[in-house]
């Protein structure tokens, strides 16, 4: 059927689905919202600057208003006082939107395993692409953005219905192994005790 129509129309008309057309457009014009709180933010700036030139991949239009953006790049550690701000900015962004967690601190808390630092933003908000590194090189951020573009082109829909399926929290549970370790330490167990297994 499609080939018959193609034969009749020749190269004058291009047939595709609305989903694919919308995703193609979205993937190649991502507008990042830089949520830069630490040294990853310097790498993010370097990525956008002339040497690495993020505009080669269609996502150089950094906007500091969440209303104008569709890609949040969380670059740096997020402390417990900042997390409500981060969540609020995320909720202010219009659909469709994606989130990149850039660097060890945003992904897992990094070396900052203290009372004030959130141990990975994915515990409290959805994340699409994780970029490891401390801080990641600009090339790694570009790779992450290319991966996100592939993800959008593969699974994107015009009315963003793929997001409606993600009804469960995607990060680790709020209380997990490191919290168990903390509770055990409070109850008098010590890590240097050879009989003490911190995980089990």
């Amino acid at each position: 059927m499609a080939t018959q129509i193609n034969k009749q129309l020749g190269d004058n008309v291009f047939l595709t689905t609305l989903d694919a057309a919308a995703s193609w457009g979205r993937a190649n014009s991502l507008w990042p919202m830089p949520f830069a709180t630490a040294c990853c933010g310097i790498e993010l700036m370097s990525t956008a600057a002339s040497k690495h030139d993020l505009s080669r991949f269609g996502s150089e239009v950094m906007r500091f208003s969440p209303r104008q953006c569709d890609l949040m790049i969380v670059a740096g550690r997020v402390v417990m006082k900042m997390l409500p701000v981060l969540q609020r900015i995320w909720l202010q962004m219009p659909e469709p939107k994606w989130c990149i967690s850039m660097g060890a601190c945003a992904c897992s808390g990094g070396v900052f395993d203290t009372y004030a630092v959130v141990q990975g933003i994915d515990r409290f908000m959805p994340v699409d692409v994780y970029i490891p590194g401390c801080p990641p090189r600009p090339e790694q951020l570009i790779r992450g953005i290319i991966d996100l573009q592939e993800k959008i082109q593969k699974g994107g829909t015009i009315n963003a219905r793929e997001f409606k399926l993600r009804i469960l929290p995607e990060g680790p549970p709020r209380f997990d192994e490191d919290e168990l370790i903390r509770i055990r330490e409070r109850n008098g167990f010590k890590l240097d005790d050879p009989t003490y297994d911190p995980v089990h």
Binding site: Y115, V118, Q119, F124, F163, I167, E179, R186
Partner: protein, 176 residues
Amino acid sequence: MTIETPKPSSVEIDEVKLKLADALAGVALEWSEFRDQYRVVFPATELLKCLNAFKSAGFEQLSDLTAVDLLEYSNATDRFEIVYCLLNVDTGLRMIAKTYLNEPDLTIPSATSVWSGADWLEREVYDMYGILFSGHPNFKRLLLPQEFQSFPMRKDYPVKGRGERHNFPVITRAES
């Protein structure tokens, strides 16, 4: 024109000691010295009188105000140490003034009436150690959220906290 050679700091601190002995007659001051750092321990009961005397003796600037939790110090007799780092801006002489404080009454008079720069420093000390400064003009937490319950720089507070960093709602993708 002659250039006045600065006096060695040991001479200056001797003058300060004489002045303070005059102004604070009857108050037990305990002096010590370590590598040109001069320290004085004064009783917390005479706090404002002592601080005013320090300022009159030339220490116009409070360069820092902080506290130390001595909980795990084996030879410590008191729980908290309040540290006032003072600077004479004319001569450059520095002096560390300390006082000790114990539970359950962790209230001392605020130094804001002497040095207004003590405002944020005292709020930070309250934030981290839970020491109350009476007479402070705007007494509340400086760095941590107002609803925070603990005082994290105390030695009996676990490094990883008491679950504060996990006490947030989870936003799923479908909800946002």
